[in-house]
Structure formats: structure tokens, C-alpha cells
Symmetry: D2
Subunit: 354 residues, 4 copies
């Protein structure tokens, strides 16, 4: 027989074995599914590492090659994992924030009908921190001219050093609220600890969780109980998977209105404060149904590239952006290098609308 004919014959044998394996895998999955149902009734967890260890041991005892024990172990681990995934997906809804169909999306509607996650590209703006009534009013007045509806108003600032300005606290929130009311805007403000939630709920329309708190599970669960939407910022070095799970903490605790925010990750590059991970936007929109926005101030840490980054954020499919604006950035009590001044804010808005 020619080598080519021999090859063809051997390949036909492989094809046949493939089908037998396929059949056995699905039989195995059906039985595992039944086991899962019983476990659900018994209230035990699906994952049973001791049982897996026993099965792997038996397979290794029975294995005569040519596959090595290591390979057999690796292949069956994959089969176990696939089976486990199947059981879990049957017993409970999948991860809630995960997109089930390409068109599924969460649109968050604010009291006056303003939507986040729909067709309008939402700009969220304002100074880094509330410093004074005058400062907030100046910025809000300019924002109002451009139709911006959501005002940053931080009363509590997370700082690396205990000796840095930590925010004005309640008086800051009161200023923010007053200014927002005057211009008919919504206030978004960072919450640093769950103990602040009852008080802050009086002033804040949209909570946000900062990068340092992205995996503070107590805070996340507590935010699952509030009525306000929550912006969840990606931590400095969180993977997208971790960000999605953090969102799941909030949503699975009862609050479906979560907005994901990409704000740059830590890398070796020194010309930007962080490296804006623009690919995160389409990936998060593919994997979840949540709105995704971009913080162009903290990612770059410099104002001179704010306009191109804003255009990129819009083009890549983000639902909006956050940008810091201050009447007089050089004298700001924090983030002086990255806040836009009023003229730059208008340039940015022009660029986005152009």
C-alpha cells in the first residue's frame, strides 16, 4: 500500500474513534448533569476535588500508554472542568453580568430619563475634588452650556499618603448637591467605605467605586442594596475577568445598574501615569451587557492628550467618558497635571461633537 493510501486508512480510523469519544463525552455529561441535580437537592457543591483525585488515580493505574500519565491527567482535568461548567450553568443562571446574546444590553435610566448605555455618548465631568462652592459652580455652569448632565463631586478622596488632602467630607457633598440642583445635574461621588453609604445616599445620584476598592467585597455587596447606579473602576492591575467578577458582586447582591470604567493599568511606561487599555472597552462590551466608560484623566495623568484619547474612547465604542475639569488646574488641591481648564473642556466637547 502506498504511504498516501496508508495515511488515508489511518485517518479514517481516527475519525471513527473521534466519534466514539464524542459519544462517550456526552453520555458522561448527561450522567454528571443528573448527579448535579441530586447535589443541588442535597445542597452540596458541585466541585468535589477528592472525587476527582480518586478518578485520576484510577485512570493512572489503568493507563498503559502511549499517552503518559501526565497527559491523561491533563486531558481528564479538561473533561472534569467542562463537566463542572455544564453542571454549574444548569443549576443556576450563569454569571449575571455576562452577555447572553450579542444584542443584550443594560441601559441605565436616571430619574429624568437621561440614559447611560444607549445611543448618547455621556460625558461625566467636574473637578477632581470639591474644593469650594465657587469652584464647583464655575465648572458646572460651563458644563451646563454643553449639555453635560453628570457632575463629579468627590467629598472623600482616596490618597496614598495620610498627609495628603482627603476631601472636604460632608460639606463637600453638600456643595456638590447644591450646585447640581442649581444646574439640574446628577452627582456622582466616590464611596470609600460601606459605613458611609447611608449618609452619602442623601447627596449622591451615582456612586462610584475607586480602583483601590474594586475588590472590597463588603463594599460591593453593600452597593448591591442601594437604589443608585454604581460606576465600578478597574483596579490598577486587575484583569478584565476580575473586573467582571467584581461587578457580579454588586449585581448578584441586587443592584443591576453597574457601569464599568476603564481607567488605565500600571505598566513600565513613564510618560503616562497609567496605560489606558483601550482594548478593554470592546472586550467588556462583548463579554458583558453593562455600559462601559473611560476615564481619560486618571489613565493618562496629563491633560495634553485628552482630546485624542476622548476621540479614541468614543470611536472604540465606549458609552461615555469621565474627565476632570477645574477652573484653575495649577492651584488644584489634587491632580493638578491632569485636570482640564475651562477652555480645554470646551475644546474637548467640540472635538467630540465634531
Amino acid at each position: 500500500m502506498s504511504p498516501d493510501n496508508r495515511l488515508q486508512e489511518l485517518r479514517a480510523q481516527i475519525d471513527q474513534i473521534n466519534m466514539q469519544i464524542l459519544d462517550l463525552l456526552n453520555q458522561r455529561a448527561s450522567i454528571a448533569s443528573d448527579i448535579g441535580k441530586i447535589q443541588s437537592e442535597l445542597g452540596t457543591t458541585f466541585y468535589d476535588p477528592e472525587r476527582e483525585a480518586v478518578m485520576l488515580e484510577a485512570l493512572q493505574q489503568a493507563n498503559n500508554g502511549p499517552f503518559s500519565n501526565e497527559t491523561i491527567q491533563a486531558l481528564f482535568r479538561e473533561i472534569f472542568r467542562a463537566t463542572l461548567a455544564l453542571e454549574e450553568s444548569e443549576a443556576r443562571a450563569k454569571i449575571r453580568v455576562q452577555r447572553k446574546t450579542p444584542t443584550e444590553r443594560t441601559i441605565i435610566t436616571l430619574p429624568d430619563g437621561t440614559e447611560i448605555g444607549n445611543s448618547v455618548f455621556q460625558v461625566i465631568s467636574g473637578p477632581c475634588a470639591v474644593e469650594s462652592m465657587e469652584q464647583m459652580d464655575t465648572v458646572a455652569a460651563e458644563m451646563a452650556k454643553r449639555g453635560v448632565r453628570i457632575l463629579r463631586g468627590m467629598g472623600y478622596k482616596p490618597r496614598s499618603s495620610p498627609y495628603d488632602f482627603q476631601g472636604l467630607g460632608v460639606p463637600g457633598l453638600q456643595i456638590a448637591r447644591q450646585v447640581a440642583n442649581k444646574y439640574d445635574m446628577f452627582i456622582t461621588s466616590e464611596v470609600l467605605d460601606m459605613s458611609l453609604l447611608p449618609m452619602m445616599s442623601e447627596y449622591v445620584d451615582i456612586f462610584w467605586v475607586g480602583a483601590r476598592n474594586m475588590q472590597n467585597s463588603f463594599l460591593l455587596r453593600a452597593l448591591g442594596k442601594v437604589r443608585q447606579p454604581v460606576i465600578l473602576k478597574r483596579s490598577f492591575s486587575a484583569t478584565l475577568k476580575e473586573l467582571i467578577y467584581a461587578a457580579e458582586y454588586i449585581v448578584s447582591s441586587g443592584n443591576p445598574n453597574v457601569i464599568l470604567m476603564e481607567r488605565g493599568v500600571r505598566t513600565f511606561e513613564q510618560w503616562t501615569r497609567n496605560t489606558l487599555d483601550i482594548s478593554a472597552v470592546p472586550l467588556l462590551k462583548m463579554e458583558t451587557h453593562l455600559p462601559v466608560i473611560v476615564d481619560i484623566s486618571h489613565s493618562a495623568g496629563r491633560r495634553d492628550i485628552a482630546v485624542p484619547l476622548a476621540k479614541a474612547a468614543k470611536a472604540v465604542g465606549a458609552d461615555g467618558l469621565m474627565v476632570e475639569v477645574h477652573p484653575n488646574p495649577p492651584v488644584a488641591m489634587s491632580d493638578a497635571k491632569q485636570q482640564l481648564d475651562i477652555a480645554e473642556f470646551h475644546q474637548l466637547m467640540d472635538a467630540l461633537n465634531g
Copy 2:
């Protein structure tokens, strides 16, 4: 005149100008120090960006080159910064955790006289999470044979997914306490939220703050009020400076007994869960007077290099290490890949004592 003579003459002029600048800088610093004293009395902050902006503007108006305005601005910014540093260091003690002399060190003494930060290399050990009395007892019994005094006992586990095992809670802490009492050991356990502190204080001898909470300023300040020492883990991507400031939150709130822990940082390398930053140990010991320990389990995320990493941690000057040990790692409810079994634990202890 020969070029060489001419060079010498010009250099002599430079030398003279250097001395004049030196004199003016110190005069300037003295005056600034007086200003600082008045500001301290007035209760205003030293940093006054508006005043700096005015001075820079004046300098640029007066500048006729050859230095460009940018260069003049950069140089004077350095002078401002140096002056500010001087004022701050005069008005209040420097960063408390910072080492003032090469021999200054914090030694933490536990109730029975066990010391952390002194000559003994302390091993902290135990399972990742408390799973059962049997599990804890088995491990503690082996630890006791090797003179290990501090037992890990997590009741609350921070997890990326809300669906992963989150710890046994209070019953877990009760088991840990009971086992520790039996073997005359101390319990260290992670605190996830400041609301847990009163309850946990009944069970726990040494608190630890996990990587995800390193910059949770509310938790850090609350830990400044407890009587127990605190282990502070470096966050996945925190700089050493940020870790030091996080420790300062605790110490400046009243608790001097902080132990810093290096536990690996996030990089692109995939063969380890994190990259152990071994240089962090000598740098933290140089910059602060606090004890520094190394977590060899979470940094590597694999048990097969635990022995060499432990030896490196000891050799580099760490005051101890933390390592996860489980009676049966493959069936552990978390971190199965990185927990040592009993035999491996004894090999590790042999290697450290060898």
C-alpha cells in the same frame, strides 16, 4: 591665553557662582522656615500652589536667558520642592515609619515574649483557609514539632468571584482559636472590613490586611486603634512608596506594630502567579524600621519552588515568611496548587535550619 588656561579661569568663575547660589539657597530656606512657623500657627498648609504660580510667573518675566523659561521653571520647582520638604520636616515629625538611623528597628513582642523583627526568622504557617477542626489540628500539630508559633487561620477569604468559597466565618475563627490555644500558638487572620474588627478581636492575635485592601484607608485607620499587631500585604501592583504610606495610615492612627509583607507583583510572566519582588525586602528595611516578611505561597502560586524561595527570603534579610500548609492540598477549598503538604513543610523547615 591657551584654551586650557581659559578653561581654568572660566571654571573658577563657576565655582564662585556656585558658592553664591549656595548661600542664597540657604538664606531662602531660612526665611521659608520662618514662614512655615507662622503658617503652623495660622493652621494653614505649607503647600501653596497659587503662590508658587505667582513666583514662577515673575521669574519668567524677568528671565533673559540663556536658560529657557522651561528650564528656569523646572529648576525653581526643584527649589520649591526642597523648601517645602524642609518646612514639613521641621513642622512635624517626618513619616513615622521611616527609618531615622541605620540601626533603628521596630521589634514586635507578642504576649509570651515571641519577637518579630529581631534575630529569629519567624515562620507563619497554616492552611490557606480554615476548613475544619481536623484540618487545623493536623497542621498545627506538625507546626508545633518545629517550634512554629504563629498559625494562619482565615475565617474570611477575599475571592475574585462571589461564587467562590468565602470562608467559614465566625465558626472558622472559633476553630482557629481553639487549635491555637491547644498548641499555645498565636492566630493571624485577614480582616476584610473594619466592621468585623470588634468581633474578630476576640479570636485573633495578629490581624492582616490583604493585597486587595492595602489602600482601604478606613480599614487602615481603624487598625490604628486596635491593640494587635498588623501584617500589611503589598498590593498586586503597589509601589513600595505606596506600601510605606499605607503603613503610615495605621501607625499615624496609633498602632506602631506593623509588619510589612512582600507577596509578589503582577507582571507578564506566566509560570508564576505573581513575581516575587525580592529586592523589596532590603529596600523596605532600609527605608523603614518595620519588620518585613515574605509570603512565598501567594507570590509563586506553586509549591515546587517553595524551598529555594524560603532560603532566598532568609538570605536577603527578611524577618520571616508566611507559607501555606494543608494536610491534603489537592482537596483544599482554595489555593490547591500552592499549599505544601506535611512532608514538604518539614523539608522547608529543614532547609531553613540547614
Copy 3:
């Protein structure tokens, strides 16, 4: 005198000292400039660390505080550095690739008038590697329909493993040339070693330097001697400053036609092969006058986000992009996951023109 009056008086003194320091700094710079001229004549370098050490020593001897010796040393180092920069900038032109005015830009003109770096957003496309005449022809035919003028045609592929497909070599280049001629296109191909330049010059219209060779100074200098433009890819973990210096190696060796390419940097994120550093585009365009393009295939390492990344690249101000297209990606000899198929290529072009 009231504290406020006293403050004002002290500040006036500071203002006066500032002016005296300013004056001395500029005097010092003038003298240093004269020294620089003599050194230029003598052919010695400006940087003279021994002389600096002597000056610092003298300053420390003379220093009576309140500034510490360390602070004085730091301040004078800044002054030395500023002076050195001044001397260097006077003696020779600054970094050639650095933008001198906001409007300066290098526009690269190909033989038929096609421009890179001007108003048209250039798409560079083609398979990862040349595999066959058929493969190249199929892709080029589709590219031609969309007016794409520059065809990727790799004869030599850099691979991590010596056992991976390394390219067809000369026959691959011949195929690429033939197909390019048929469709009136230009060929761009990676050069792996300077010894290949004479041979490759017969086939290639635009050379490119891969990420692994970005700092191969022998290759860079050799590319300074060829007549073709050069695309310089940023290395996996090169800072933007290093990329600019690498370009300077080429330009200072005689070839002004360099195109910078951002292609993603290495981070901890695992859902993309690399993290596209979109901020690099506006920063490189601000710092240099060179065209900047984006590789959307190697940055993401996945084809499903090619369209949003392409739109982001255009919106952020890039002069073009490179994208891999293959008639049948799943059977490609390399980069199967990231190459677009023909339909996806047309969607991309539609999206860019939409």
C-alpha cells in the same frame, strides 16, 4: 506686626532672593556655554563627572544649612544637568526626530506619490507570512478593490522557537514582489539581520524592524544607509523614549524616512496578547515629527476586536494601521487567531470609511 504682615514681608524677601538666584543661574549658564565652545574645539565631551564630583564636594564643605548636604547635592545636580543640556543643544542639533514646532511633520512619499503621514489614513495589509502565490494573490486582489496600496510580505519570520515556521525566505520575497507588481502595490517586509539588506533591497519597498530588533543598533545604523523607508516597531516593553532613540539611530545614520509603529506592550492582562498603548500615538506625534501607525493584529492577538481598534487608531490621530489578512486564517502557518479573513477585511474597510 500681625502674622499676615510678617508673612508678606518674608515673602518679599523670598521674591528678591529668587531674582538673585535667577541672575546667577543665567550667568553660570553663559560661562558654561563658553566652556562648551572651548571643549568643542578641543574635541572633549561636555559631560565631566570628575569635575562635577569636585564641585559637589566643595559645596558640601561650604554648606552650613539649613538645607542638608543631600538637598544641596540634589539641587546642584539639577543645575548641572540643565547646564549640560544647554551646552549640548548649542553644540549640535537636538535629537533629529524630535518635533521642533507643532506643525513640523515628516511626510514619506512613495515612488508613485502615495504619502504616509499626510491626510490619508494608510492601511497596510496582507497575510502574516508569505505562504504561497495563491494565498498572496487572493489577499492582494481584495486589497486592490479597496485601494490598499501597501502589502505585507514576510519572507523571514522571527519566531520564539527554532522549531517554528521561519518563513519561505527568498522564494517568499519573490512571490510577494510578483504579486505586488501585478496589483501595482508596494511590499513591506521585516528585515531580521543587516546581512540580509543587500538581497532584500531587490524585493522590498519599505523595510520594517520587528519588536525583537528595535534596539539592534547595528541593524538600525545599516537601515540609515538604505533608500527605502523604514517602519520601526516598538518593542514589547520599550518606553516611548527608547523608541524615539531607536528611530534616531536610523535617522542620524542618513535615512530620514522612518515610520513609528505602536504594537502593544506586555502587561498582566491575559485576554489580549499585548495591551495596545493607544496613548502612545498622540505622545509620539507630539514628541516627534514622524508618521505613527498602529498594528492592530499583534497588539490584540485576536481578530474579534479588530474593527473597534481600527476606529480607535484612526480617531486618536494615527497615520495608518497594519492588519493581517489571510484567505483562510484557521490554516495559516502562524498567527491563526489574529488574522482577519476576507469578509472581515471588508468589514474593517467599511468601518474605517463609514
Copy 4:
């Protein structure tokens, strides 16, 4: 039947199916192995993506669940990969640098019997770059007192900027050779391009490949043809797997004497120039049989932690280290901050021997 009995029964069914799948997998592997032999004879490659695509398509057509097509595809991809690995390992020796048994190791013997990779911890030392005969002689004389046998002697320095000091070239190598001969030492020097190999072979006893050239496949292959051992430095952001493959380029080209060097990777941390990845040492020693050394100068980029890092390198199991020593570091033409002075060199040697 009770749920527990039912569970047991279903588990017995699973066990049986496991064994059937095991049997089929091994049958499949045997046939694939036969196919591999025929392919070897025909000279075709084992990897046949088109054939895989056809098999996956057939499996999806036949799949009726409960496993989804995606899961079936993923599981069979694992099976394909395992089979391919088996075929490849049968047809040719595995990766040559990979350790086959726990005791296998490459010991490199220099002409006078000095060994690298055996029991002696080898210190490689000398200035960053050759600057003068005096400088080299001073350092070598001190090294000789401590029994150090291998002298750094760079004639060609890779620099980020074309305007930085690039080394003395041939005269530098001549100085290095002369000094080495005087003190009966070996010279190690970096080779920047394969065109330099014939000339450098006259002066150099051990070549080294710098981080910037780790994936320069032309240089690596050329080093496979020289008689001298080669030190291969890990690139700034190379994974360990990539480093191993780079070594394989050299070894598979004919030179078995490769020494791997860890020299730090790029991270966000700013207090060190790079982050020394100490875990790389035990991992490389586990995965390969090659000697592994650590560069403590370039990793830290600062001399004040050289002693603890040297001790850590030795403790973690490295076969040696490289450290830069200069008679007068502040006036060195490069790397002034990281070179030890003579006194510090002796402290380091004391610490290593203590």
C-alpha cells in the same frame, strides 16, 4: 433509592465511561503515532491545521449535546494538542536544553578547569565598560585577591541613545585581553552583531548576549558555531519560556555551552531599575539542565542593595552572579549608580563567603 445510593450508581457509570475514554484516547494516540512515522518519511510536518478543521467540523455536525459545540471543540483541541506533542516527541529529541531527569546538568569547563554550573558559586566581575588600562588593571588586581576568575570587558556597549558612549571597540577588547592575561583570568564580553564574531573570538573567552538581542535569531544561530561558551541574558520582558527557546537556538545550532542569566524584568516599580525575578532561578534550573546566574547590577540598578541580592542569588540556587565594579563609580562612563567601588566589592565577597 436514596439520593446517596443513586449518586453512587451514577458515579460508577462515570468511572466506566472514564475507562472507555482512556482506552480510546490511547488507541487514537497509537494510530496518530503511525501517521507521524509516515509523515516523517514523507518529510511533511505533523501539524496539519486543515485536517484539524475538517475533524472539528465533523464533530460539530455529529454533536447532539448536552456539551455545546464550543466545549466539544475545546476538548478535542486538547486531544489534538496532546497527540501532536506525542508525535513530535517521538520523531525528534525534545527541546535539547530541557532537563530530562532531575539530576541532569550541564557543567561548563573553561580551559584551565574552572567550572560553571558545578559546586562553586562563580562571581563574574569588572567594570561596566572598558574605559582604560588603568581602570581594568585596578579592578582585576582586586578581583584576583578574591579568586575571581572571570572578568567583564565590554568593548561594545548597547545604548538606548546613539549619542551615548558606545564603548572603545577593538582597543577596549585589547585592553581587556591584556589585563586578563596578566591576572590569568577569562574575559566575557557582549557581542552586538554576528558580524563581530570572527574578530571578537580573538579576544573573548565567553560571549554574552545582551537583553536587547535575546531574540536575535541570526546572532543566536551564529553563536551556535563558536567554540566559546555563551551567557544569554533574559530580555526586559521575555517570559522564561522565550528565554529557554532562545537558548535552544544556540544549542540546536551546535554549541551546548549556554549559561542563562536572570537580570530583572520591567515592572511599574520605580525604586529599582528592573525587578529581579528571583523565582526565575529555581524555575530555569528545574526546566533546563543549563547553569543559571544572576546579574545583580542591572536588575537593581543601584549598589546599596547589592549585598542582600547577592546572598539571595546564592541561597536560591544560582550558579553564580555578575556584578559591576569600578575603581571610581561616580566618574564611570556608564551605569554610575549601580557599579560597586573596590571596598564594596570586598564587602560583597565577604558576605558571599561568610
